[in-house]
Amino acid sequence: MHRWIAAAVLVLLQAASAYAHHSFAAEYDAKKPAMFTGTVTKVQWTNPHVHFFLDVKDESGATSPWEFTMGAVNGLFRRGWTKDMLKPGDTVMVDGYLARDGSHLANARLVTLRDGRRMSGGTMPDEPAN
């Protein structure tokens, strides 16, 4: 288990989530929610997914780099995101789902910005099991 996981904070979701571009379930595990706090090192406002990178500090004080993905640029902008909300140097909190492959990659469901605003990362709702 990753030490960054604070699973108790989030309700476990039963089914895999859907994603507009790539299937969420193909890449992320909805049963592995996780929370992160870190410093933004890079932001890519690109399609099909916006990516940003954090230096995340764990309980022992060690820092490691993580990558986060959100939805598409158009969907995020329509929900109130602007490019200056997330900048290198910002300290942000991310509530998301870990990648299935165990790498330092996660889907950002909710991002708490430097000014405390909480923004949706555009994760799609659960896909019906079929």
Binding site: A26, S120, D126
Partner: protein, 268 residues
């Protein structure tokens, strides 16, 4: 007091629109008394009296919400399964049912649109990206922000070609039946076009009939019939709704910009 409340309500309703890419005022949208767009008003008409489908439209967002509430990025049930509203689901031929099982088991990883190809015309109705309809008397053009693609519907009386070049959007001709636009299409690329994330196939034998009505100012309703005897045991019809985005504008969605979802996606 009543005026104050109305102003607050108007401000609240207007707030999300302020977050749009542009703040260009929407053209001639009927308003409620509080100033919000009246999307239940009658459909507008063109100078020649036909219903006017022009505008920026987005797919219905009717997906079931998880127990902890609806995320703000709700999608269409028909995005995942075009047969969502069809009793007993889509009538797959046995090979097609087997193909859909395989595609679903791989969680949609092989979906051509996930690999930056355009979708077909059915998915124009279900993707959360916006479409802009530009209507003239002899031609309707549908611009999709998804991979910056277009669809043409010819209204000039030409027939469907006998042997069309198979394309992603096919070849479409339409005519008016009262206030309903009837569009017939053929000439689709076989194999490459999925009708939904489950992977429901479409073959080159397919004909698609759409009966499109602008039932209110804010809603387009399409009865879409797929007649593809190679993949389905009988023609089936689905109802697809699209909603007007009164202050919406197209914004690029080009998936090759940064299709870096990692080897864990592409490799397995």
């Amino acid at each position: 007091m009543r005026v104050l409340l109305a102003s607050i309500a108007a401000a609240l309703i207007a707030a999300p629109l302020g977050a749009q890419w542009t703040n260009a005022p929407a053209a001639a949208v009927p308003k409620n008394r509080d100033g919000s767009p009246n999307l239940n008003a009658p459909a507008p008409r063109t100078p020649d009296g036909k219903p006017d489908f022009s505008g920026v439209w987005s797919a219905e967002r009717n997906q079931k919400c998880p127990p902890d509430g609806c995320p703000d990025n709700q999608m269409s049930e028909q995005f995942l399964d075009l047969g969502w509203g069809v009793k007993e689901g889509l009538p797959y031929q046995p090979w097609a049912a087997e193909l859909v099982r395989r595609r679903t088991a791989r969680a949609g990883q092989d979906d051509p649109t996930s690999h930056c190809f355009p979708g077909g015309i059915v998915r124009l109705y279900t993707y959360p990206t916006f479409n802009k309809v530009v209507q003239t008397p002899k031609l309707i053009v549908i611009l999709s922000e998804r991979e910056l693609t277009y669809r043409q519907i010819f209204l000039d009386g030409r027939p469907l070609p006998d042997d069309p070049l198979p394309t992603w959007k096919g070849y479409s001709v339409g005519h008016w039946d009262g206030d309903t636009l009837v569009v017939e299409s053929s000439g689709f690329r076989g194999d490459d076009i999925w009708l939904d994330r489950k992977g429901s196939p479409l073959t080159e034998a397919a004909r698609i009939i759409e009966r499109i009505r602008r039932v209110t100012f804010g809603r387009l309703e399409t009865q879409l019939t797929v007649n593809d005897p190679k993949a389905y045991t009988r023609p089936f019809t689905v109802t697809l709704n699209e909603y007007l985005e009164p202050a919406g504008e197209l914004m690029d969605f080009v998936c090759l910009e940064n299709d870096a979802s990692g080897p864990q996606f592409l490799g397995k």
